[in-house]
């Protein structure tokens, strides 16, 4: 018997560009196929993020072992300041791999059916325990020994949070992907987006944040309104403090931050949280005040109505289908609906609040090192890995890291200015596994789009249906994206959950990375705006201000104004 899929091909080392030398700490790392993770980390990352990578990688190892998946790990690491990820397969024979794949499908299938219950009854209470530990910790009052103890505990608990993260998200992601496949097989690929209508309109932590902010905006009286709309976001608070109604509003604003402000714009540890710097919140408030009719609660209710109507239609068209097929559809629907809520909710607690607390612990070390003269400023702490920090503060006096920080900054500036390679390491033999898990990963991270024959058309993947024409606003970070105006099309590398409020402003979204299950696509569908995702090159090919037309169902971007005609 021959098996064409198993056609042996030797691993091929990928030549590193001359200006991008790669130092491997272990030979095994050089053997992996590292792919640039632009989706989560479009820009260079700080050395402190190694702490996140450590937790993330352990989290995947935990989930893959728990579900007996044929993968050992999905690892993230920093290479010359950029985040790369690689899949680490288990060392198994072809047959062992197939047998394990079957067990994994069974385990994941069972897990996805009870993920909401598992989260609510077991995982979320544990997550809240960990968060409470940090909330209760007295960072400033701790002795150095206590702080070192706290750092060890932080490492342990954060790793545990990421184990929980992937224990929840691996089956959840698969549920979304399997539901999409089931829907497409039953009703045809041309109706693929209708599948997502059935998942929309459920309240989650993200919609809760938006609705609370909209209510806060509604509570502003005429004076407060005028102040917020007419003042630079950075100066608003000081101005409001001058009036009675302003102070009342500030108190509500403070409550809002306490409830929802433990987050920043990315997974990075070097960005201030909303509590530290509420400028993004003032910007969003301004947006709400200028759009008093855009009630997110009413919008959510509208999406829910739309969902229920679509569901009634879908169920009617399943009449006469074999019962096992109907049962399968209903089970997948439930798992995917739960998954749609969980994929927002877990991020609120783990990705954002967890990172917020870790950042606070790091900043406390930064404060002490800066006081001792071992750092130039508190913020410089993110230019060090936690191990470097610990090694420094275990000495008396603290080891001076200012020189190292300077060197790191120079390196980051150097590598940040050049075009990093898409892949490094060793290209793996054989095609990627064609199984439900492999397909789910493709739908999340995206697969390369088909090349376009028409130079005025850029191909990506269908992310959210609809056609819209508008001015492109190219933004590689959330702060760059703040200037986007109503009716413009946001063109970006990727969007993180903190970008969500922007989707209420823009007319459409184009991303470089991601597939139909990526954050940008999910949120665009929730907001009912067209999205084309995974174009790879939109932010490099499309000029800021260029007129474009996007077709979110076909996954194409047309350059209405030719690039060559632009000045």
């Amino acid at each position: 018997m021959t098996d064409s899929h198993a056609a042996p091909m030797t691993p091929m080392p990928i030549p590193a560009p001359e200006d991008f030398p790669v130092q491997w700490s272990q030979e095994e790392e050089a053997q992996l196929h590292w792919i640039r993770d632009r989706m989560h980390f479009p820009q260079t990352v700080s050395p402190a993020l190694d702490l996140f990578f450590e937790a993330h990688n352990a989290g995947f190892v935990h989930a893959f072992a728990l579900y007996e998946m044929p993968l050992e790990a999905l690892v993230l690491r920093r290479i010359n300041g950029y985040a790369y990820n690689a899949v680490v397969p288990r060392k198994l024979t072809h047959d062992e791999m197939a047998a394990m794949g079957k067990r994994a499908q069974q385990n994941l299938g069972a897990a996805m059916m009870r993920s909401a219950q598992h989260w609510n009854d077991e995982l979320l209470p544990e997550v809240k325990d960990h968060l409470r530990f940090w909330q209760d910790a007295d960072l400033e009052g701790a002795t150095l020994d206590e702080l070192l103890e706290l750092a060890a505990e932080t490492r342990r608990r954060w790793t545990r949070l990421w184990e929980i993260h992937f224990e929840l998200m691996v089956p959840t992601l698969l549920a979304g992907s399997l539901f999409q496949e089931t829907y497409a097989d039953l009703f045809g690929a041309e109706r693929a987006f209708d599948a997502f209508t059935l998942l929309q309109g459920f309240g989650n932590k993200t919609t809760e944040i938006n609705i609370a902010l909209w209510r806060l905006a509604r509570s502003a009286d005429e004076d407060v309104r005028a102040t917020i709309l007419g003042t630079d976001p950075a100066a608003v608070a000081a101005l409001l403090r001058e009036s009675e109604s302003g102070r009342r509003f500030l108190a509500s604003f403070e409550d809002y931050l306490q409830a929802y402000g433990r987050r920043s714009e990315t997974w990075e540890l070097n960005r201030p949280s909303w509590i530290e710097d509420p400028t993004p919140v003032w910007r969003m408030l301004r947006e709400h005040l200028s759009q008093p009719d855009a009630d997110p609660a009413a919008e959510l209710a509208r999406l829910a109505d739309q969902r229920e109507a679509a569901l009634a239609d879908t169920r009617a068209s399943l009449t006469g289908y074999p019962q096992p097929v109907v049962d399968h559809f209903e089970a997948m629907l439930r798992a995917a609906q739960d998954g749609a809520v969980l994929s927002e909710d877990h991020g609120f607690y783990i990705d954002f609040e967890g990172a917020y607390h870790v950042r606070r612990v790091l900043l406390e070390f930064g404060r002490r090192m800066a006081e001792a003269g071992a750092l130039a400023s508190t913020d410089d702490i993110t230019m060090l890995t936690l191990d470097e920090v610990l090694a420094s503060v275990r000495e008396q006096p603290f080891v001076d890291r200012r020189g190292l920080v300077e060197e790191r900054r120079r390196d980051l500036a150097h590598f940040g200015a050049l075009q990093e390679p898409e892949m490094v390491g060793t290209r793996q033999p054989g095609p990627p596994p064609e199984d439900p898990v492999g397909r789910a990963i493709g739908r999340f991270f995206g697969t390369p789009p088909q090349a376009s024959a028409d130079p005025e058309v850029l191909n990506g993947h269908a992310g959210s249906p609809g056609v819209v024409r508008g001015v492109a606003r190219v933004a590689r970070s959330l702060s760059e994206a703040q200037d986007v105006r109503r009716g413009e099309i946001l063109v970006t590398t990727m969007t993180a959950p903190s970008w969500t409020p922007l989707f209420g402003t823009v007319a459409g979204v184009v991303t470089d990375t991601g597939g139909a299950l990526s954050h940008s696509a999910v949120v665009a569908r929730e907001y009912g705006i067209p999205a084309v995702v995974g174009t790879l090159r939109a932010t490099t090919l499309i000029r800021d201000g260029q007129l474009i037309e996007i077709d979110g169902s076909a996954g194409t971007v047309r350059l209405v104004e030719r690039t060559s005609d632009l000045a």
Partner: protein, 327 residues
């Protein structure tokens, strides 16, 4: 019989007259006494003859319309079947049932038309004429000739039966038609109607059930890329959802039920049988039962014969030697 009978019901004495209703209908009618067969009636060979005569001799159209009196009887019978099944309008299967058919000599498999999920008296009429016309198709005539049957003696009855909107369907052999083994029941199954299995449009699941214990001894999950479902006016082939393809179409319990049914039919008939059956709403329906044609010699028996020095007894002569598993 003085007046030719156009329509007979399952359960009526005359519905077991093979010359009147054809092999398939006679067999099903007989089986309906002891098994769950979807209710139905037959348009007899006499009805066929009446229709066949309408346009004789010179300008015979390919598909002459139904004589008025026959149409009235068909309309009434269809309405009555709807009442018996408690459905209005009733979805039915309209199947050909030829004389000679389902005999041991030739299977006629697939030679005559079957129309599934037919709703309304007009559609039933159309399907009926379609069945009758198929008896005169080139393909059917060639088959008859090849099988040594009389090409002029076409007598085609048609069966109108409640359609079972199958959750899963199976073709069950009470002996292995490939190896000839008599101690295992072989089952092919898929989700939806049985067409995908019979028509060979998928690799179905394949199960083997031990006759004595009723246990599933082997299971191979087929790729089952598509299934057939009833849609208004017929059936449609649609993909089985990818995540469902790796799941078995039948539970072990359902496999055992299928095997039990095949074994008891084998006992009743006195020879190995292949049956078509379907599950709906937890009930197993018998749709068709035939003798297995060209069944190889039982390899177990061959070995026994060799020891005894007896010559190989050849095809189609084996009785079941063990009592099938009975619940």
């Amino acid at each position: 019989m003085d007046v030719p009978v156009d329509i007979v019901w399952f359960g009526e004495e005359r519905s077991r007259d093979i010359t009147l209703v054809g092999g398939k209908a006679a067999s099903l009618s007989l089986l309906a006494a002891h098994h769950r067969v979807p209710p139905g009636f037959c348009l007899t060979t006499a009805a066929y003859d009446a229709w066949d005569r309408t346009a004789r001799p010179a300008h015979r159209p390919a598909q002459p319309p139904l004589p008025r009196s026959l149409h009235t009887k068909l309309r009434d019978a269809y309405a009555e079947l709807g009442r018996r099944c408690g459905a209005d309008p009733l979805r039915v299967a309209v199947r050909s049932s030829a004389i000679d058919e389902d005999g041991a000599a030739a299977s006629f498999a697939g030679q005559h038309e079957t129309f599934l999920n037919i709703v309304g008296v007009d559609a039933v009429t159309e399907a009926l004429i379609g069945c009758w016309s198929s008896g005169r198709s080139q393909r059917a005539l060639a088959y008859r000739e090849g099988s040594g049957l009389d090409a002029n003696g076409i007598h085609l009855a048609v069966l109108v039966q409640q359609l079972v909107p199958a959750d899963a369907a199976a073709v069950v052999f009470s002996a292995d038609p490939v190896s000839g083994r008599r101690d295992e029941v072989v089952i092919d199954a898929n989700f939806g109607l049985g067409e995908s299995i019979v028509g060979g449009s998928v690799t179905p699941d394949a199960y083997r059930v031990d006759k004595r214990s009723g246990a599933v001894v082997d299971r191979s999950i087929g790729s089952k890329a598509v299934m057939h479902i009833p849609v208004p006016g017929g059936t449609r082939e649609i993909p089985v959802p990818r995540p469902l393809r790796t799941q078995p179409a039948l539970t072990d319990e359902q496999c055992t039920s299928c095997a039990d049914l095949a074994c008891s039919l084998e006992t009743e008939m006195g020879h190995p049988v292949d049956i078509e059956c379907a599950f709906h709403d937890g009930q197993l329906y018998l749709l068709q039962c035939r003798a297995i044609t060209r069944l190889p010699t039982d390899p177990n028996e061959t070995r026994a014969s060799d020891r005894d020095g007896e010559p190989d007894t050849g095809y189609d002569r084996h009785e079941t030697r063990r009592q099938p598993h009975q619940a």
